[in-house]
């Protein structure tokens, strides 16, 4: 039986052609611009904030800015060839970001989309298909295959053996399994493994906020956390409080978060059981719990009074946070290992956080962004400059 029989082609062609482009080639940028317009004008996509966010990211101004930044140092680059993307199964639009990152890098792309039938996938693939129907984008069509198949090592092996780079999303177990499948000698793997993220808040700055600003901050925090059930790599699990009057600040902050969550979040019964079970397990296993506070079942807060090295093994979910008080962020340098990805902050000076990473020679923390930007996907992600990693530099003397 042909392996292809189990593969559904959602957009593009069956046999992609390898003809690398220069990253941010005009045709590629125009394609994204047209994709953005198509999606933003479609009635279907307006029902999906994640599709709209993707469309917004692809807009002309954003791509033009990225291109300018990229071209600054005058490097001569070309795409690597053919990329094979394995998108995470639980995030509907991540495949689309992975695809456009690969495209902007100048590559042909074979993208395995989630097997779950998220409507967002259909909407985005249909928009891409519409553009492929025009003669203008026949070259891009010839180098694209958006595919779907049930987990199948034989198929994954076939694509792995014939690509120049793989983008493996989906965490440690996926990566370990995919890495077993052979690739060409020069093939590059960019693997997005399981990561852990934290947040630092300056108490006095929080107390200074007026009510409107506080509501905005809590909504941003909501987007960083609850929007993805706290399961995204960049969602914080640990909240570090700095400065005077921490308890006042916490009370104010969490009360507001609770209101926001109450308005926006659906806590499923199974999640409530999971969350409570996790609390019981933490109560049994952790010996450094100072207090537990809850705002109904929406917000669980476990305050720890001694920072243990392996706190990153204790991840919250569905709105479950560990809290730690300190007046010197450097006091937690010992917990930062290479699992740490995003540090979100509020009221703290950026340079202080940069110093924290550099002066302690930390192995982790790849992103330092304000609260509200934890989920913002970009060509710099997870410590990689994706476009540069997926293109080769041609040294010319």
């Amino acid at each position: 039986m042909n392996k292809n029989d189990n593969v559904t082609y959602l957009a593009g062609v069956k046999n992609v052609s390898t003809c690398p482009f220069v990253p941010y080639d005009d045709l590629l940028c125009e394609f994204l611009n047209d994709l953005s317009s198509d999606l933003r004008s479609s009635e279907e996509s307006s029902a999906y904030p994640d599709v709209m966010a993707f469309a917004f990211w692809c807009r002309k101004a954003n791509i033009a800015k990225l291109k300018t930044d990229f071209k600054k140092n005058g490097e001569v680059r070309l795409g690597l060839g053919v990329l094979f993307h394995i998108a995470p199964s639980n995030v509907p639009v991540n495949f689309a970001f992975s695809f456009v990152f690969g495209l902007l890098s100048g590559n042909a792309n074979i993208v395995r989309v989630p097997s779950k039938p998220f409507p967002q996938i259909g909407i985005i693939c249909a928009a891409i298909d519409r553009l492929f129907a025009t003669d203008k984008y026949r070259e891009i069509k010839a180098m694209t295959a958006l595919i779907r198949y049930e987990q199948n090592d034989e198929i994954t092996s076939m694509f792995s053996a014939n690509c120049n780079a793989r983008l493996i999303w989906g965490g440690d177990l996926t990566i370990r399994n995919i890495r077993k499948l052979a690739v060409q000698e020069r093939c590059v793997d960019i693997a997005f493994s399981d990561r852990y993220s934290l947040c630092v808040i300056d108490a006095p700055s929080l107390i200074e906020l007026n009510d409107t600003e506080l509501t905005k901050l809590s909504e941003k925090f909501y987007n960083d956390t609850y929007l993805m059930d706290q399961n995204a790599c960049s969602s914080p699990h640990l909240i570090v409080w700095q400065g005077a009057e921490k308890e006042v600040a916490k009370e104010r902050f969490w009360t507001e978060v609770y209101h926001t969550v109450g308005e926006k979040y659906q806590l499923a019964a199974v999640s409530a059981v999971d969350k409570y079970t996790l609390l019981c397990k933490n109560a049994i296993e952790l010996n450094n719990i100072k207090s537990f506070k809850q705002h109904s079942n929406y917000v669980y807060r476990v305050a720890v009074d001694k920072m243990i090295d392996n706190i990153d093994e204790f991840r919250g979910k569905f709105g479950y946070f560990f809290e730690y008080d300190t007046n010197d962020i450097n006091s937690i340098a010992h917990i930062i290992n290479n699992k740490y990805q995003t540090l979100t902050y509020f009221g703290v000076n950026k340079s202080e956080l940069i110093n924290f990473v550099f002066e302690n020679s930390l192995l982790g923390i790849d992103r330092i962004v304000p609260i509200g930007q934890a989920m913002e996907m970009d060509v710099i992600w997870d410590g990689y400059d994706i476009v540069r990693s997926l293109s080769r530099i041609i040294e010319v003397k």
Binding site: P88, N90, V273, K281, N297
Partner: protein
């Protein structure tokens, strides 16, 4: 009220008919026993103590019985939870749940084990009559021979066997109906009431289906069938309680069929389905249905099922949070005449679509 020190002294209520007390009559002593059990488990089970400490629940203060924190059933899979010295444990019951998952371990001392048996007999015989009946078990004897005695399946069979005599197994070692044995059994006990016990899925898969296939019949018109163990697999085949009953009646004429609901964590104090089709809590157990914020649901409102039982002494299982959903139908006013809360179980909580970016390898 005398102090409960060495476990709940069942003799004080064992002679009360299990479905005869109104809310008012039950609440007082029920709350007292739960209070004593909570203190006992707190003092003797380190994990339980840690949970209550983190939750800020002081067991010395007598709270409303509704406020006692439940232990989520998954903890019995992840930890060895004991409230007595290990040397006091006489058997460990295990339940595998769905294949491939980790197993629950329930540690029983003599008092807990004895109380389980006494209460089980009390509850079931209030349906089947005090007289012991010839008993047919729709399972294979291999489960018992297997020395896998204390799997929930083996323990259930042994527990229920106490209710009958001439205990006969209807399936052979290959899980095929043993036609000769069952026919001989029916002939021998012709015109007598017969007690039949089995697990819902086993009865359906290995007894009913085989009889339907072969077109054979057993004369079990005088049978009283008690079955439990959950509907998960049957609901996948779209078989509900009604279909189950009518199908069985079709192949062997059984008219009296009672489902029961029980958890391995609270063996003994099972909930029996009445003639009106509702599950009943007895004076030994209670049920609450919770919203996702853990406040109590109203009557007819579906939510998470929390169960309590007066029996668990050697392990902290007196108040547990199940992973089932259900609804309370009423209290003290069921048309069957039994007092106490009556309710329905709707099945397992549905796994939510977990968002997030870790697991593509499915």
């Amino acid at each position: 009220m005398k102090q409960v020190t060495a476990g709940f002294d069942i003799s004080s209520i064992i002679d009360i008919p299990p479905f005869s007390l109104s809310k008012q009559e039950k609440d007082g002593f029920y709350a007292d026993v739960l209070y004593e059990l909570t203190k006992h488990h707190y003092s003797n089970c380190v994990q339980y103590q840690k949970i209550l400490d983190v939750l800020g629940f002081d067991p010395i203060i007598k709270h409303n019985k509704e406020d006692i924190p439940p232990v989520p059933v998954r903890l019995f899979k992840d930890y060895d939870l004991l409230s007595v010295e290990k040397s006091q444990i006489i058997k460990t019951m295990t339940s595998s749940g769905t294949t491939g998952q980790s197993i629950s371990k329930i540690f029983l001392d003599r008092i807990t084990s004895t109380n389980q048996t006494k209460v089980l007999i009390k509850i079931v015989s209030s349906f089947t009559g005090a007289k012991r009946l010839p008993m047919l078990i729709i399972d294979t004897k291999a489960v018992i021979k297997d020395r896998n005695l204390f799997s929930a399946r083996g323990a259930g069979i042994l527990g229920f066997s106490m209710l009958g005599y001439d205990v006969t197994y209807a399936l052979d070692e290959d899980m095929q109906p043993d036609f000769d044995t069952v026919e001989a059994f029916c002939k021998k006990h012709k015109d007598k009431n017969i007690l039949i016990f089995g697990f819902t899925f086993m009865i359906w898969e290995y007894f009913y289906k085989k009889l339907a296939e072969t077109g054979k019949n057993f004369p079990l018109e005088n049978g009283i069938l008690i079955h439990g163990g959950g509907w998960k697999k049957l609901s996948e085949e779209a078989v509900d309680n009604k279909t189950f009953k009518s199908s069985l009646e079709g192949v062997c004429g059984i008219k009296r069929v009672y489902n029961y609901y029980g958890m391995v964590e609270q063996t003994g104090s099972i909930f029996m389905e009445c003639e009106a089709g509702y599950l009943h809590s007895s004076i030994f157990s209670d049920v609450r249905v919770l919203r996702t914020d853990f406040s109590a649901c109203g009557i007819h409102e579906t939510g998470l099922v929390q169960l309590s039982s007066l029996l668990p002494f050697s392990y902290p299982g007196h108040v547990i949070l199940s992973e089932d959903t259900g609804e309370i139908i009423g209290e003290d006013n069921c048309s069957c005449g039994r007092l106490g809360k009556y309710f329905k179980i709707h099945g397992r909580v549905i796994d939510a679509e977990i968002r997030g970016c870790s697991d593509t390898y499915e």
